[in-house]
Each structure stands twice: as C-alpha cells, then as structure tokens.
C-alpha cells in the first residue's frame, strides 16, 4: 500500500480567550492518498477553512500533528519547511482577495518562482508560465493582463495556475468554484480533474455544493462543530449515511428539478437527539469498507444491525 501524502492526527485549532473560546478545529484526524481527492463538507463555521489554513501553517496549531509526504511538519529544518510549503498549496475561498490587483498575471505567477528560486533564466521562465496558463485553459496573451480584467471563472483559474506554479503534490482547494456560474464551474472542475490525472495531484476539496463534491471526490469527510462526524467512500457515504447530521445534510441539497423540490422533506439535526451519557466514549468507529462514523458504542450497535 502506498503512503498517504497527507496525514492529520488529532489536529486542534482554538481561537479566542478562556471565556470566549472557539474550538474551530477540535481533534480532527484524516489522511489523503497521492492522486486522491478528499472532499470536506459541513455547515458554515464548522471549521473547514481553519483546517486548511492550519495545515498550510497559516495558523499555529493548538495541538496534534501534521505529516506531509511522511515528514512531521514540526521536526523540519528551515530548508525542508520551504519545500514543504512548495509542495502543499492552497487555493483560497475568495478569488478576489487572493490575487494582488496591481500585478499582472505574469508577475503573479513569477512570484512563486522568485520565492523558491526556480527557473531563473528569463526565457525558460517565460516558457514555464505560458505552459502553466495553457494547462488551466488560458493563453499566453492573458499573461500581461491584470486580475480585474478577467471574469470570475478566469480569475479562479489564475488562482489555480498560481498554486500549480509550485508543482505541488497536494492542493487544498477552499470553495474553489462556489463563486462561479454553472457552466464555468463545470469547466474548472473538468480542468482540475484533468490536471490531477496528468500530474498525480491530490486535492483536499472544501465545498458546500454536495452534488459537485460527490462528483469530484473519491472520499468525503463530513465535519460538524470542529469534529469529523463521518468519513468514507463518496458513493458509500451518499448511499449509506449513518450519522444523523450526514442524513440531515444530504436531505438539504436542492435538486435542479422543480417537481422533486416541491416534495423534498428536509430532516433536521439537533445534537441533543443523541442523548449521550457522561460516561459514554464517543469516537470514530468503523462501519466497514473504511467508512467511519463518530458515535457511541450503543449507537454503533444499533446502527449496524
């Protein structure tokens, strides 16, 4: 069996002070295999972006460990850390805010090469940037334009091109398509899948559009209030959800069909419905086929019959 490209063990990220503590990420563990897409879904504010930002070291973690390419991020030398960042890239939720408006696309893409001292020869560098633009479905004429001269979809592709400029092994894509219209979403998703196939890239794909997440992901993790509630193979999770929060989430997805929308019944979720006792141990338990669900022993027994 191949080694995971990313392993996250008991990751914690808390914000605020003692009397106003937000446990944005609270004991989260998962892994991503090379060339695989793990979808990360869950309600707004459950800690998806914070998980991504903590993995790339944008936030100091409160606890836990992050292994990238088999190496623990804490035990790396300065030089290795640099490499770590190069091979692990993030596409941010807001495509407008993440591109410098005063730089041309060429300069934006060149910046990564400068930081990491890559392709120092002018001609070689230009060639690399043109190739990069073409790989995301833009062309070399676009290189001299500024971000505001592009449509939302094109701008998002510049963000992707920038991430790719480091030749990463894993990209954390935080809602990369939410702001785009449907036909451009389809373009970007097709493109991301093609690049994945060509380069053996892995994605941690954060999103709330569950139809798209199901389509793009090999596995999916469902997060609720800083914890993972359920994780498993994409179609397995959709066809055989165990956790009531997952069921509630799936029942909320609007379908592009007016007739089924009139009939759709949403099931609610309320934590108190579990009726857990103080002494019950809650953890991810295996329901077979690497399908893990956060529950008590009692629930495990009643859900598996």
């Amino acid at each position: 069996m191949a080694e995971p490209i990313l392993t996250v063990n008991n990751l914690k990220k808390h914000f605020g002070s003692k009397n106003n503590l937000v446990k944005a990420v609270d004991d989260v563990s998962f892994h991503v295999m090379p060339g695989e897409t793990l979808g990360l879904v869950g309600e707004s504010g459950c800690g998806k972006s914070t998980t991504g930002r903590t993995i790339i070291n944008l936030y100091d973690k409160t606890g836990g460990e992050i292994l990238f390419d088999g190496k623990n991020n804490d035990s790396l030398s300065k030089k290795e850390q640099k490499q770590f960042h190069q091979k692990l890239q993030m596409i941010f939720q807001d495509p407008y805010a993440s591109l410098n408006p005063r730089m041309t696309v060429f300069e934006i893409l060149e910046e990564g090469y400068d930081i990491h001292k890559l392709y120092k020869k002018k001609k070689e560098r230009r060639q690399k940037i043109y190739e990069l633009l073409e790989s995301v479905g833009l062309n070399r004429e676009h290189a001299n334009r500024y971000p505001h001269e592009f449509s939302g979809g094109q701008r998002q592709r510049i963000g992707i091109a920038r991430a790719l400029s480091f030749d990463p092994k894993l990209i954390i894509a935080d809602e990369p398509i939410s702001a785009l219209d449907v036909s451009i979403q389809a373009q970007v998703v097709n493109m991301m899948k093609n690049i994945q196939r060509e380069r053996g890239l892995a994605y941690l794909f954060i999103a709330h559009d569950l139809s798209m997440v199901k389509y793009i992901s090999d596995r999916i993790a469902v997060m609720y209030k800083g914890k993972i509630m359920e994780i498993g193979d994409a179609s397995d999770l959709y066809d055989r959800p165990f956790h009531p929060y997952t069921k509630s989430l799936l029942s909320a997805v609007p379908q592009p069909d007016p007739h089924s929308e009139k009939e759709r019944r949403r099931v609610g979720y309320d934590e108190s419905m579990h009726g857990y006792n103080e002494d019950e141990e809650l953890k991810l338990r295996d329901f077979g086929n690497s399908h893990l669900v956060y529950c008590s022993q009692k629930e495990y027994e009643s859900w598996t019959v």
Binding site: S178, H208, D209, P258, E261
Partner: protein, 348 residues
Amino acid sequence: MMNEPILQMKNLEVDFKTYAGTVKAVRNVSFDVYKGETLAIVGESGSGKSVTNQAIMKLLPQPPAIYAGGEILFGETNLLEKSEKQMEKIRGNEISMIFQDPMTSLNPTMKIGKQITEVMRKHTKISLGDAKKRALELMQLVGIPSPENRLNQYPHEFSGGMRQRVVIAIALAADPKLLIADEPTTALDVTIQAQILEVMKDIQKHSQTSIIFITHDLGVVANVADRVAVMYAGEIVEIGTVDDIFYNPQHPYTWGLLGSMPDMNADKKEELRTIPGSPPNLVHPPAGDAFAARNPHAMKIDFEKSPPMFEVAENHYAKTWRLHPDAPRTQIPEVIRNRYIQYNGGDQ
C-alpha cells in the same frame, strides 16, 4: 399569481463608458415583478444580472454607468427619474438588496450588532433598545448561534457564511416590499441555505414581499422560483414559469445552462458538459443572436438578425429564431427531454 405588477421594467438599456469603448451591459430588458412572487434571474457570469438589478436601486455610479434608455416603474413612478434624495428613502426601506459580496456591504471596523441597528434606525423610528432586541431576533432567524456574544464581534471574526447571514438579516430588517437578492446563499452551506430560503419564504407569505432572486444554483431556482428569467449577453433570452424553463426550455443557451449542472446521480467518469466558447464582447454586440457563435444548431439568420421574443405559451417567451414558424424543427436535447418525460410521464 398574476395580480398587478409592483415593478415593471420596460426596455432598460445600461451602458458603461470605458477606455475600450462603450460596454452595452444591459440591452432592451423588460420584465414585470408581481406582488408576492419570486422571480429568479439566471445566466452566465457577466450577462448583466447584477447591473440590471442595481439599476432598480439606482446604485450604478454615473459615470461610468449611463441609463441609456427605458423605464423602471415601481408602482406609478419611474425610478429612473427619482432624485438621489428620493432614492435614499426607497432604498433599504421599500426596496432592499442583498449584495453578491458580503464583505463589501459590511464595515470591517464596526461591530456586527451596531451595523444592524444602524440600518434599522436610519429607516424607522425605533429606540436603540428595541433595535437591539430586533437585531438579536434577526440573528436568530438567520441561524447565527449564540447571537448575544456574536453581536459584539467584528466581521473578520465570522466565517464566510456567517457574514452573509448578517447581510441577509440587515436586508430583512426593514421589511421591504421588494427584496432583491443577488446570490444571497452562494457562500452558505446547504443546511443554512435551506434555512434562509425558508425564512425568506415565510416572510414573503406574511408580508406579500416580492423577491428577485439572482443565483446560478439551479437547485435553488427549482426550490424558490415562481418564474425564471434567463439572461445572456445583456438580454433576457427566455422567461417563463419555473416548470416552463426546466421542462420545456426553448433557447439553446438555456439548454446549455441546464445541461452543465451535475445532479446527485452524475456519472463520475464522464466529463461535465460545458458550453464551449466565450460570450461576445459587449462593446460591439453581434448583429444577430448573441449566442449564435456558441450554438451548434445556429442558422444563417442567427448571425444576421437579432430575433424577437416569440411566445411559446402563455407567460413563456424565448428569443430565438428556431421558434419562427418557417424555421426547421429542432429537438430539445435528450438530457432535458428525459427529465421532462421522467416527471410528466409523456413527451411534449
């Protein structure tokens, strides 16, 4: 549904003066909004959805924007003739708007609670105490957990989705006659989205609010819309009831749009459908049908002459030459026909 319209847009034209020339962003757009209905507007990025609706609020900066033609009747009066002072009374009061980008409508240096109460106090005579109470209620209504603590936080301490819910709470604060929602739920997860849609529907039922709902999520359209307008390159190319648009669409752009959405049963190995090519440059809009260059079934006339709106059925219109009596009969694509058959048990 078809009572008297509260808003009538007639032949609206909006231009932008830019260095590259005059951008014809909104071209001859007409539609009505009836009391208590939800009209969804869908269409490609850059097709003029936001500009059309910002024109209703008269929010476009002039220059570069020019209201080049048409009128927008709200009740008896043409909004385009109102002074800025008169518009200020209407905005956020009779008509309110939820903007596409929540960060631009929130002040990053002001506490959330204060931002909500300020809006209320600007438009209604309400004591600070009552405004605070109402702000708390609204935060609860849009599903913000422990709102008491949250009122004292700044926008950057909120997640993306929570910020958007605050913006929605602010828009609802004034109890408007017409609510224009520009991609209000795009940044939200499905549970909160469903909750917000229910809140909006409830408020609509109570106060007969009319809603213009701009979105690219066709699932949301199917859920909220009574009628749907489809925009392409600054024009409305098709308008009809939600069933007309989903089960009997007539414009090739509408077909492309409906075809590119994966549903929950989409096959992972197949590529998603896209609409090849890109929209026309609106500095020089094409002479014929603006979608012709991307339409695999385009006829000669599509490149030469802009089609009129053809009536498909009562309340259903589409702007495409394929509906001309002399045009050769073309079929609605199979994916879309299948859906029609699946839900209506027959062909059309």
